[in-house]
């Protein structure tokens, strides 16, 4: 794997060019250009906020901030995998004609989406200042969380992009799984609600399993690290009481370890397949 990484490093200018191309082309002929990548999550978050404030009140002050802080990393996860799943197949012409390290294709998609994500995070901090929310002391965890998520996403991107060359069904499977995981991950609701319900049903141990999922642990960490504990007005809206629980560093460490393993496994899998891409007639 190290020789593959060294070769990839030699082609770093290609990676940069591909990322630049993706950023340029994506919004090339649209008037609002880059702002579309902000408008999309903001409109989603505004819609969900209206539902969870007025239709099914969740009772958390500043709910939109707690939603946005989880929704942005989710967007990064989802968009990267959707873009990456097509990345190798859409460069088929090129693969059959020129040598270059094939992994630049999915990797450039993940990096382009990460740049969108980081810019959105900047906007998120501006939004916090505007609504007057305090900046919590654990904000320095942000780069750590981004790196962990990057490793997880890249590992998965390698796997889906390689598989999609051989099985065209993969992109549909990925999009179905993403739909399911949007609801399984604590994005629109709080992880503590899952904890409280599992406790009440006598399956408290299952919550450990829930936290073992690296995606859950990462999203929970974003929320706990970047925002103060939310206050729930007592007995207000939800049929059961729940309260904020602090960031559990043990599960974050496990998520980091799992993400590294996923990255290595994904990259190895991609490398084992990448020279047969061009032969898949």
């Amino acid at each position: 794997m190290f020789s593959e990484l060294a070769e990839l490093f030699k082609y770093r200018d290609l990676l940069i060019q591909l990322v630049a191309r993706d950023l340029k082309v994506r919004y090339k002929n649209s008037v609002l250009g880059f702002f579309w990548s902000l408008i999309n999550p903001l409109v989603q978050v505004a819609t969900i906020t209206i539902v969870f404030k007025y239709v099914m009140p969740i009772g958390i002050p500043n709910y939109s901030a707690y939603l946005l802080v989880a929704y942005l990393p989710w967007m990064f996860f989802q968009m990267s995998l959707l873009d990456a799943s097509q990345s190798v197949l859409s460069h088929y012409d090129l693969l059959k004609k020129v040598y270059f390290p094939r992994e630049v294709l999915p990797l450039s998609m993940v990096i382009a989406n990460m740049i969108h994500f980081l810019l959105a995070i900047v906007v998120f901090f501006v939004y916090l200042l505007v609504i007057g929310a305090p900046i919590v002391s654990t904000w320095w965890l942000l780069p750590v969380l981004v790196i962990i998520e990057f490793l997880l996403v890249t590992g998965l991107a390698f796997i889906v992009s390689a598989l999609n060359v051989f099985y065209a069904d993969i992109k549909y499977i990925v999009s179905v799984l993403l739909n399911i995981f949007f609801y399984l991950t604590p994005i629109i609701y709080m992880s503590e609600m899952v904890y409280t319900r599992l406790q009440a049903m006598g399956y408290g141990a299952l919550y450990t399993l829930y936290q073992l999922s690296p995606l859950n642990a990462i999203v929970m960490a974003f929320r706990e690290a970047l925002l103060p504990p939310y206050g729930v007005p007592p007995g207000k809206t939800m049929p059961f009481a729940f309260h904020d629980m602090p960031l559990d560093y043990r599960f974050l460490a496990i998520a980091a370890a799992v993400s590294i393993i996923v990255f290595i496994a994904g990259y190895s899998f991609f490398n084992s397949r990448k020279w047969s891409f061009a032969e898949q007639l």
Binding site: K10, Y11, D13, L14, I16, Q17, L18, R21, K24, V25, K28, N29, D93, L94, L95, K96, K97, V98, Y99, F100, V165, F166, Y167, A168, D169, W275, A278, E279, Q280, L281
Partner: protein, 247 residues
């Protein structure tokens, strides 16, 4: 004489996928079926190409010419046998494969250069020369989706020859553009020859082969049928093709 490329017992087979290729259904069905059919594109090729030599590979469609070039250019891994390459290889395979229609000529120059392995830093000093060679000064800041086919090919060729390789692989691209541009292409090829670079090219264009190559290899169904000086091999090939057509 030192060799630039050594092929030893080179074999390459491709798997032929029948019917529903590329779906989960095919995967599930394939458990029940016999092994997929194999197509032997190269059946043991031994070839040594000297440094500075210009070698043309001719043969009918499906003879394995492009596969051989693809293996030297690291697009395919050989099934068995050895490939030894001394020097930096660049492929001039179907020009403009990496172009993006929405990007301008300049943007595509940087992108295509990077695909061919040129550093962005080195590319900066070559841009003017590329634009001049491609004769696209007026259009270089417009998206290439507005270019004609000839303009795209000229730009592709202009970039590819800037890679400055030790070994240049050319697949059927010398018939690019109008007469004047073709003359420039041939001029560039002979400049490469003067500089002592190795050129391997695949072509059906026999006059071009006679004009450029010093040695010709005739591939037939994955094996070398003849290898020798240009005139002899091309004559034999033409006679062979004519004989095949009479049958």
């Amino acid at each position: 004489m030192q060799s630039a490329i050594e092929l030893q017992g080179l074999k390459k087979s491709f798997r032929l996928v029948h019917g529903q290729a590329g779906s989960i259904k095919a995967l599930l069905l394939s458990f029940k079926r016999r092994k997929p059919e194999e197509l032997m594109a190269l059946k043991g090729v031994d070839l040594s190409i000297a440094k500075g030599e210009t070698l043309a590979v001719i043969g009918r469609n499906g003879s394995g010419k492009s596969t051989m070039l693809g293996i030297v250019g690291r697009i395919y891994k050989p099934t068995s046998g050895k490939v030894i390459v001394h020097g930096r290889v660049s492929a001039l395979l179907e020009l403009g494969a990496g172009f993006h229609p929405e990007l301008t000529g300049i943007e595509n120059i940087y992108l295509n250069g990077a695909i061919l392995g040129i550093k962005t830093r080195d590319m900066k000093s070559k841009v003017d020369e590329i634009v001049r060679f491609a004769e696209l000064e007026k259009f270089i800041d417009t998206p290439i989706k507005g270019y004609s086919k000839g303009m795209v090919m000229r730009l592709g060729f202009a970039i590819a020859v800037q890679v400055d390789p030790d070994i240049l692989l050319v697949d059927e691209v010398l018939a690019v553009g109008d007469e004047a541009f073709q003359a420039k292409c041939y001029e560039k090829i002979s400049e490469f020859q003067r500089l002592g670079k190795t050129i391997v090219f695949v072509s059906h264009d026999l006059p071009a082969v006679r004009r450029v190559a010093s040695r010709v290899v005739w591939l037939d169904k994955g094996v070398i049928r003849m290898d020798g000086p240009t005139g002899q091999v091309v004559d034999a090939y033409m006679a062979g093709v004519a004989a095949d057509e009479q049958h």
